[in-house]
Amino acid sequence: MKSKQYSVKVFETTITDEEKFIKFFDTNYALFKDHLILIQGTLSKDIRAYLTKKPLIFLHNKTVPIGRSRKALESELNIQKIENDVNQQIAQEEIKKLSTRLQNNLTVLDRIIRSGQELDIEGDLLLLNRVNSGATIHTTGNLIITQVVEGALRCDGNFMMITASPKANVIFHGVEVDNNLLADKLNRVELKKNQILITPVIKKEINWEL
């Protein structure tokens, strides 16, 4: 596409006295021939004929975009930039929030949580070791522990995957979970429709020795 951009001088007027108008244009023709004449209000046939004959380029009852000063333009650009920045920040924050909800901020630990130690985790936790009696873990997100839990757990995430011994104290969304339901090798505890659902993921191995 080929295009050009330029400014045009406009003379805008309303005709009240036709004779005066014609006289004024006759005397100032040299000036007006480079202008676009914009006539607001009534435009009689005579005047139209006069303008066409002259020739003068004219428009009748139209609004034209009026250019602004450089200063005004700059300040508008500035405002736009600020708005853009703010919008971008809002978007970023939304993404951050969303990612928290998607629980991408995962902490992975492989150490024994010993008696007296307390873990307070923002987000999800994957623990590959034991939680000993007397230890406490609290997560705002999901919690997966691959070895036996004998300490206290407090989880406010969407789900937990744990094995708990009868000594453990497991609280999910403020509700104490019955340890007898966590005796299998790996159990999923989740919140569905305001109900806590517990399903064994890996069943307990049968001990043939006994």
Partner: protein
């Protein structure tokens, strides 16, 4: 340059001091230059168990405060010339210990002995923290019962965060002694199995010591049980001391070996 080993337990009364005395003597019998130091200030017992209570003149606190020289305070054992002893103060309490002074003392001892064994006070307070602060390794003594295990667990946790070696980015070696195991009670399921204890604490096993009536008598007499060749606990301490001196001594499964006289008689009539 010797190695500094702290003997800890968390819970009191599990046999820290007895273990310290016996291991110290056991190491000395293995012809290594060894000193045992009682860090249980205000409640010193190690001197009695070693049979050296009447020979204490100066104590650890006096040495650290500069009131006595280290040489003056160290007592040589009559039983074995490789064994040395530094007593705790009985009149002061644990708050007199200061990091700087402990560091200096431990460094001095490390220079002149192969093995420096520190007998920690029970609990996890400042006295305990000062004992572990400059140790290279720790021996954790537990009894096969839940309260002892939990307290030991807590003590290990503190060891892993407060020790100078850990702060320097190194690891403190941790070894477990399970004390007062009763084979009968383990077999009947009344007592925790060693496997379970090792599972919970997740540290290396140094040895198991069976319950033995002889230990109390030995302590009262001031002759550590390791000197009694017939005692099962004494034999266990001999094995552990051997391991500490770098010998390869196989683990003896004292939980299965059924050694009761009554059981033997019962077996004969079966």
């Amino acid at each position: 340059m010797g190695i500094v080993i702290a003997v800890i337990s968390g819970k009191g009364g599990v046999g820290k001091t007895t273990a310290t005395a016996n291991l110290g003597l056991g190491i000395a019998i293995n012809e290594k230059n060894c000193i045992v130091v009682d860090f249980d200030i205000g409640q010193r017992n190690l001197d009695m168990i070693l049979g050296l209570e009447n020979r204490v003149v100066y104590d650890l606190v006096q040495v650290m405060d500069g009131e006595a020289k280290l040489k003056q305070a160290i007592i040589k054992s009559k039983v074995n010339e490789n064994l040395h002893f530094l007593a705790a103060s009985q009149s002061k309490d644990k708050t007199v210990l200061e990091s700087k002074k402990v560091k200096k003392l431990v460094a001095e001892l490390r220079e002149s002995y192969d093995y420096v064994i520190l007998d920690s006070p029970a609990g996890i307070e400042s006295g305990f923290e000062h004992t572990i602060e400059f140790a290279d390794a720790a021996i954790i003594v537990v009894n096969p019962e839940v309260s002892s295990i939990r307290d030991a667990d807590r003590a290990i946790g503190i060891l892993d965060s407060k020790s100078q070696k850990v702060k320097n980015g190194e690891e403190v070696a941790k070894y477990l002694i399970i004390n007062r195991i009763s084979a009968e009670m383990v077999q009947s399921g009344e007592m925790l199995k060693s496997e379970d204890i090792l599972n919970i604490l997740n540290i290396k096993l140094l040895g198991k010591v069976p319950e033995d009536r002889g230990v109390i008598d030995a302590s009262n007499q001031g002759k550590p049980v390791i000197l009694n060749k017939k005692s099962y606990a004494g034999q266990a301490y001999t094995r552990i001391a051997g391991r500490l001196c770098g010998q390869k001594v196989d683990m003896k499964d004292i939980e299965i070996s059924d050694t009761g006289l009554f059981k033997k008689l019962k077996g004969m009539f079966k």
